[in-house]
């Protein structure tokens, strides 16, 4: 454990800063590790750990509820297109999305959630307008 790492104690400091110690739920139970970076995806925040794993915000201990989500219309066309290119590139390179908590798994999760919300919401709006 790094001596410079700071222990996260309260939700008031949310989201935690780089170098803080965070706890999260993994497939094997609860783990504690050092946070490298917090990054917004297309829908939610991902927490990048020192070992490269990518953990969605809702699995981090102390995540305030309800969780903060990005609005679909906040995502620019450019951002979406870059994400699509990255995903196709990772898939083309033979990366497997079934490797939990890895970048392809994390980004594909967010892309599918985003695309679903984007077109599902458009469908609701059309139906509301027709009423």
């Amino acid at each position: 454990m790094k001596s410079t790492a700071k222990q996260l104690r309260t939700e008031a400091n949310w989201p935690p800063e780089e170098g803080q110690i965070i706890s999260f739920k993994s497939s094997t139970g609860s783990e504690t590790t050092i946070l490298k970076e917090v990054r917004w995806g297309l829908v939610w925040r991902d927490f990048i750990l020192e070992d490269g794993r990518v953990i969605p915000e809702h699995r981090i201990s102390g995540c305030p509820q309800p969780q903060v989500w990005r609005k679909i219309n906040e995502v620019t066309d450019h951002e979406r297109e870059e994400c699509e290119e990255r995903l196709l590139s990772m898939a083309g390179a033979g990366m497997d999305p079934r490797r939990r908590d890895q970048s392809f798994w994390a980004e594909l999760n967010q892309y599918l959630a985003y695309t679903y919300l984007r077109f599902k919401q458009a469908e609701y709006k059309v139906r509301d307008a027709e009423r």
């Binding site: 196709l88 083309g92 679903y116």
Partner: protein, 88 residues
Amino acid sequence: MSRSDEETEEQQVWRVLSEAGLVEIRLDEFAERIRDVKRIVIVRLRELLDFNSGIQERESAAHSLGTLKGLELKVLAHAPKPPDPSEM
């Protein structure tokens, strides 16, 4: 008061995504979830074509559909093969 009136926007997003199985996709369900999302995009694309409207959204939906198709093919290519019954 409907359920959607009682929910905050954040709670609604969580519910919609959870019901669609898209908050954390199970490792063996990626191909199925990609197909689900493709269906949603196709429905929307059909609406846009029927009403001959939203050229930009139409192009964007078609592009997303292409991306999803490409991802589906790659994910299926890496899917673990079921056991051969002749070897059981």
